[in-house]
């Protein structure tokens, strides 16, 4: 199912036209001439520098269109101009307006917030939105949320009390009114854009999750299904074998689809599932006997992987139908034995460059501080003993 997203016109800056491209961008978005927008900014500027502040804010907040021609001004110069303009505007406002002392810090904080928001990457914004939501919604249940809620409320109340106590009311009224009007105006202007950004973030997150799942499934299909299909082709002459392979694969797919097996991170589960897979893949039966269990440390994971390799070797080369796997967790070490009664081999006769046992079993175990003993004689089977100390 594919959701069709209506293509929305977004508000972009056009840095290839004019200073920051704000006026041009708005003009294009709203559908009026650039001159009119510029005039509006100029007129607003006479009202206590509001136009300059707005222009600056837009410059910082608005993105450029993807793939749009780059600004004629280099980025560093752009930021410098923005910073100087912002400081100048706030300075003038602080100097001239009756309430400048209050207005300037507020404006600075808003600009800072906008800047941080713009710099943040999508996942970060995402996280912030979640955080702010949980801090309110989960305020009652979550301890951190409760502390945040109390601290925030305390700050707000303190600020309000300070302002009311210090300022004389008639002067503050006009200032507060102007500020409220400005805030509402900005909200109206940029509201739709914010909403759209939120929606887009949600969509992107879902898309990310979905693509990750797809990758997982692809990896799984590669490891199991393709492998099985290859084995089926090789065993096409034997109906019994094909049926067995198909059954094993069916079970595995069921597990994947209906999720009955999860990796528990325990040695016993690891060994059991390795044995089951090798039973399926090589048409042998493995007598698995496990005494006690331990959580899977890196050393034990290596031991499990090496045991798996030993089982594969037995399945491939021993020429038997049953192999024994015994693992015991003792207080200070784990012992694992893989034994078959197959053809066996002469240890000394194995060429030094044969990688199988050396690389995937012995080296792997010794790297983790364990030891391996291989006992084998032609005609009397093979036993691989793996001993891995615990901690």
């Amino acid at each position: 199912m594919t959701a069709t997203v209506p293509s929305t016109r977004r508000l972009y800056r056009r840095p290839d036209r004019g200073l920051g491209g704000v006026a041009a961008g708005i003009a294009e978005h709203v559908g009026v001439r650039v001159g009119l927008v510029r005039l509006a900014f100029v007129i607003l500027s006479t009202a206590g520098g509001m136009g300059v502040a707005l222009y600056g804010a837009y410059w910082i907040v608005l993105p450029t269109a993807p793939g749009a021609p780059r600004s004629r001004i280099p980025a560093w110069l752009e930021y410098t101009i923005a910073a100087v303009a912002a400081v100048a505007a706030i300075g003038i406002a602080a100097w001239t307006m009756p309430l400048g002392g209050l207005f300037a810090p507020t404006m600075l904080a808003c600009l800072g917030g906008a800047l941080i928001w713009r710099q943040a990457t999508d996942p970060e914004r995402d996280r912030w939105r979640r955080l702010s939501r949980t801090s309110l919604a989960a305020g009652g249940t979550d301890r951190v949320g409760r502390i945040r809620l109390v601290a925030g409320s305390a700050l707000v109340v303190t600020g309000a009390v300070l302002v009311l106590a210090r300022a004389d009311f008639t002067a503050i009224r006009d200032g507060l009114l102007a500020m409220a009007v400005t805030v509402v105006g900005i909200a109206l202007l940029t509201g739709p854009m914010w909403m759209r950004t939120m929606a887009q973030l949600g969509l992107e997150r879902n898309e990310r999750i979905r693509s990750q799942e797809r990758a997982d499934i692809a990896a799984h299909l590669h490891d199991s299904v393709l492998q099985t299909l290859a084995l089926i082709q090789r065993n096409a002459a034997s109906p019994r074998e094909v049926a067995r392979l198909a059954r094993g694969q069916e079970r595995e797919l069921r597990n994947l689809l209906y999720g009955t097996r999860t990796a528990s991170g325990q040695l016993a589960d690891e060994l059991r599932s390795a044995a089951a897979e090798i039973e399926d893949a090589y048409a042998i039966s493995i007598e698995v006997v496990l005494v006690a269990d331990a959580p899977l440390s890196p050393g034990l994971a290596a031991a499990a992987a090496a045991s798996r390799e030993a089982l594969v070797n037995a399945a491939k080369h021993a020429g038997v139908t049953t192999v024994s796997l015994y693992a015991e967790v003792e207080p200070d070490a784990v012992s694992i034995f893989v034994k078959d009664r197959g053809v066996g081999f002469d240890l000394d006769a194995v060429a030094a460059d044969r990688q199988g046992v050396r690389g995937s079993i012995i080296d792997r175990i010794e790297r983790h501080g364990g030891e391996v003993k291989v006992r084998s004689q032609p005609g009397s089977g093979t036993e691989v003993e793996i001993r891995m100390p615990l901690r």
Binding site: L290, Y326, P331
Partner: protein, 212 residues
């Protein structure tokens, strides 16, 4: 002399399969599909060996053993199961079965196990050896009626470990430089300890398993 055997399993297909596989190596004198049926058949035919499925409706193999296990001294029980559930297997052994094998056992091994049980020996499959090792693991010995039953000797432990690793009695004897007869003695001692132990651990261990 071929052993006279009764097959007890609720799956007729399985009974037919075992009967065919064993062929004339044993003398199958009866079959039963339920515990009640089994008790009647076993009483009537007094076989040498009963192949007893652990898991059946109406109480399973345990119900059969509890009913007639002690009243027929010449009939021996060999538990047979697909189950991985340690507590079920241990319960059946404690109720008097002389051994436990899994249903994946080969026909030759099964015939051998039946013969061994008929001769009075015990049969430890690797899995049963693992269960027992688990049950007697790192013993913080609790006070009990007879401490002798509550611990395995180091030698018994060794024998059990080798059994769990898939060694046959003969191979264990060679490995430990003892006679096959001694290995058999160790095995039956372990089984007796398992049946008679009032060990705290056994109950705790079983409870642990049930919690899982």
């Amino acid at each position: 002399m071929t052993a006279r055997v009764v097959l007890v399993d609720d799956h007729a297909m399985f009974r037919a399969g075992v009967r065919a596989e064993l062929g004339d190596r044993v003398d199958v004198v009866g079959e039963a599909g339920t515990p009640a049926d089994a008790i009647r058949t076993i009483r009537a035919s007094t076989p040498d060996v009963v192949l007893l499925d652990v898991h059946m409706p109406e109480g399973g193999g345990l119900a059969v053993l509890e009913e007639i296990g002690s009243s027929l001294p010449d009939t021996r029980f060999l538990a047979l199961s697909v189950s991985d559930a340690a507590e079920d297997v241990i319960a059946v052994i404690r109720a008097g079965a002389r051994g436990y094998v899994t249903k994946t056992i080969s026909a030759d091994d099964l015939a051998d196990a039946i013969k061994r049980v008929a001769d009075g020996d015990v049969v430890f499959s690797p899995r049963l050896a693992g269960f027992v090792l688990d049950a007697f693991r790192d013993a913080p010995v609790a006070p009990s009626v007879d401490p002798d039953f509550d611990q395995l000797t180091p030698r018994e432990r060794e024998v059990l470990r080798l059994l769990a690793r898939g060694y046959a009695y003969k191979e264990i004897a060679a490995e430990l430089f003892i006679s096959i007869k001694t290995v058999e003695t160790h095995a039956s001692n372990v089984l007796r300890k398992l049946q008679l132990s009032s060990r705290h651990q056994l109950t705790r261990w079983a409870t642990d398993r049930r919690i899982f």
